[in-house]
């Protein structure tokens, strides 16, 4: 493969890398810079791509380090929103009524593969991810997309493991509710 072909293949993942970076950083300009740095690093280190993982996975790995560095820098800035607000657990038991029973029993979402194969599912998923509060989205993406270990996330963001679990729980509950309302509530989709 020529250098130009490799550059073109890397560039075809720019949109995905940008979506991930924006979700984590909530700063379009910074995200653009980070993705640009990622693609430059990928081209400079093309020999390091063995082909054992997909190109997208390899690029995501480079992006992960760039994002962690950016978050590390941003956490030193006063403008970086405090995590405290998103670590509150007052609504932790909102799923249940006073007697401890489900407020709204969870619905059967059906077969995941059949949902994933529908054209608009991941558009709705993206919509729901975009609606998460900034720090909640950042932590959730660090865990679920960047696949950082819990202790790495706690260290980078200077939060306790309890705070981390609360944030991840809140992210999952928000995504669950958003998908219920915007995907599964639509006729014919819960199959």
């Amino acid at each position: 493969m020529t250098e130009a072909d490799f550059a073109s293949r890397c560039n075809s993942h720019r949109g995905y890398l940008l979506r991930v970076a924006v979700l984590q950083l909530r700063d379009n300009d910074l995200a653009e810079d980070i993705v640009q740095d990622t693609l430059v690093a990928a081209l400079q280190g093309a020999q390091g791509f063995s082909g054992r993982s997909s190109l997208k996975t390899w690029l995501t790995g480079i992006l992960k380090h760039k994002i962690v560095d950016a978050i590390r820098r941003k956490t030193r800035e006063p403008a970086f929103a405090s995590l405290d607000e998103e670590c509150q657990i007052e609504d932790f038991d909102a799923l249940f009524d006073d007697s401890g029973h489900w407020e709204n029993p969870p619905a059967d979402w059906g077969d995941p593969e059949s949902q994933f194969s529908r054209a608009q599912f991941f558009d709705i998923m993206q919509f729901c991810l975009d609606k998460l509060p900034p720090n909640t989205a950042r932590v959730f993406m660090m865990r679920e997309v960047m696949e950082l270990e819990s202790n790495e996330i706690c260290k980078e963001l200077s939060i306790t493991s309890t705070n981390l679990w609360v944030i991840l729980y809140r992210a999952r509950m928000a995504l669950r509710q958003c998908l219920e309302q915007n995907w599964f509530a639509q006729p014919g989709r819960n199959a």
Binding site: P105, P106, D108, W109, Q115, F116, M125, L175
Partner: protein, 43 residues
């Protein structure tokens, strides 16, 4: 998928509860669904 550590007695209580709690099973399936969706998202 499990982000928090629980003690063995609590783990066993949760597992026992899940045997008969249908809503809990659906909730667990929903959480698994989200995890799978995110895995597919990054692929």
């Amino acid at each position: 998928m499990q982000d928090g550590n629980v003690s063995l007695p609590l783990y066993l209580r949760i597992r026992l509860h899940l045997i008969w709690c249908e809503a809990c099973k659906r909730f667990e399936q929903q959480m698994r669904f989200l995890h799978m969706a995110m895995r597919r998202y990054r692929q």
